[in-house]
């Protein structure tokens, strides 16, 4: 059991703020993919470090939860470590790096490689919740576009990529249609992770602190990456096995290892890579 920091409410936020977040979360689950405005609070870390995700986690977290936090798939980066420690201190919850034992996983820009279960909640840190933001700068206008399900401009954007490059050149934050109704930004997860959004057994919650929006995908919800019949969605992956665990299916990080052009491709999901190595899988560079 962790020592709880005295002088703060459970999980840092005051109860009125949590109720506001909880009401927004319930509506978000009832309207999959629709962005709900909320009164984002100032948190003890700057915007861009996961304030939206932290507020969502603080609103759902209970004393019996086991929290895992990943940053680009890694449990051991500054952002992941400090958020995990933040909740260990303010809520006294157990933390873990093991995907299977976590009940709440807060993530920045990845979905774990191991499939998630019905007993888990995945909380995304979202920098830009509006998928149409680069096509239409006015939030008033994009709100209307969502109301009318007017998503032609996004199809044009994909089409322009195809005419210019021969394929859709969006490698992360690839737009999806949720439940056949709302166009949604899946946060900057690689397009490689997009298929995992579809019919996921776990509840997915998205929090954007600076942009003050919350949205959600309930379990077992239809999520389709936007594409064309003659140019179906295709998730890319670096054509290498993981240098440490040899996985040929995981999403890889490219690491420069010397100043002579040496490169190492390793799993971005550190828990997945470590679990495989513990099970005896060995890559060429291990």
């Amino acid at each position: 059991m962790n020592e709880i920091l005295q002088g703060y409410n459970f999980a840092y936020l005051d109860e009125q703020t949590k109720r506001m977040l909880r009401r927004a979360l319930l509506k978000a689950v009832a309207i999959p993919g629709h962005q709900i405005p909320f009164g984002s609070r100032e948190m003890p870390l700057p915007y861009g470090w996961g304030t939206g995700g932290i507020q969502v986690t603080a609103a759902v977290l209970g004393p019996n939860d086991v929290l895992k936090v990943i940053d680009q798939g890694a449990d051991d980066t500054t952002n992941a470590v400090s958020i995990r420690r933040f909740f260990a201190k303010t809520a006294g919850v157990a933390t873990t790096t093991d995907t299977a034992t976590a009940t709440i996983i807060q993530t920045r820009h990845r979905i774990p490689e191991f499939p998630l279960s019905e007993n888990q909640i995945l909380v995304y840190q979202v920098p830009q919740p509006e998928p149409l933001s680069k096509l239409e700068p006015s939030r008033g206008e994009t709100r209307r576009m969502h109301a009318l399900a007017e998503y032609g401009s996004m199809h044009v954007r994909l089409y322009e990529d195809i005419t210019r490059f021969g394929h859709v050149a969006i490698s992360y934050d690839y737009p999806v249609m949720v439940g056949g109704r709302y166009l949604m930004a899946p946060s900057p997860i690689p397009a490689f992770d997009n298929p995992k959004l579809h019919m996921m057994p776990a509840l997915q919650l998205f929090g954007a602190g600076r942009e003050k929006r919350i949205y959600a995908i309930p379990p077992y919800t239809n999520v389709r990456s936007l594409d064309f019949d003659d140019h179906p969605f295709c998730a890319g992956r670096a054509p290498h096995p993981c240098g440490l665990c040899g996985s040929e299916t995981s999403y890889l990080d490219e690491v420069v290892v010397d100043n002579k052009g040496g490169r190492l491709f390793v799993c971005s999901d550190t828990d997945y890579c470590e679990t495989r190595r513990a099970a005896g899988h060995v890559g060429a560079d291990a």
Partner: protein, 191 residues
Amino acid sequence: MPVALVGFADPVLDAQACFRAVLDAMARPGSIHQVGGTLVAPASLCPAAAAVVLALVDGETSIFIDPAFADAADWVRFHCGVAPTPDASVAAFVLAPDLPDLRSLSCGSDEGPEDSATVIVQVAALGEGAVYTMMGPGLQYPRTFRATGLPVDFVARWAENHKLFPRGIDLILCAGDRLAALPRSLSITGG
């Protein structure tokens, strides 16, 4: 009138547990959850409905309380710090002993479908009685759901509500210390 009834024994953790139950109920429609077991609620309210009100309602939102629950009004006023609104059509939460006319409640706008009512309905029983079949987000396969105390024309009235999607009303059904939720995204047949 003095309010003799206490609220949650632990206002922070009990509210969290109740919210998680409602969140899971909303995310997996038809699933039944236990809440508010130890709560001493006003006589007309079941513990589950009382717990949901304590967990979600405060002075930043609005609640309409059906006259049948008049004895709960002061309790809500005291514990939630909100004066119940006399106008159900503008309320964010509606606390009712049976299914109200959903058309008379706020169903949100096309741009703000979240500005819609959540109706907390007290029913006779969950998990027994009329059989409904549901399909929608949150359900891998069509799922059956049983409840006693919904009106005989519930399926037709729900279809009218579901047709408005993404606008519409969300229901939280409470019986004793159990609750289940029906979000607007569900299509429901049977009865």
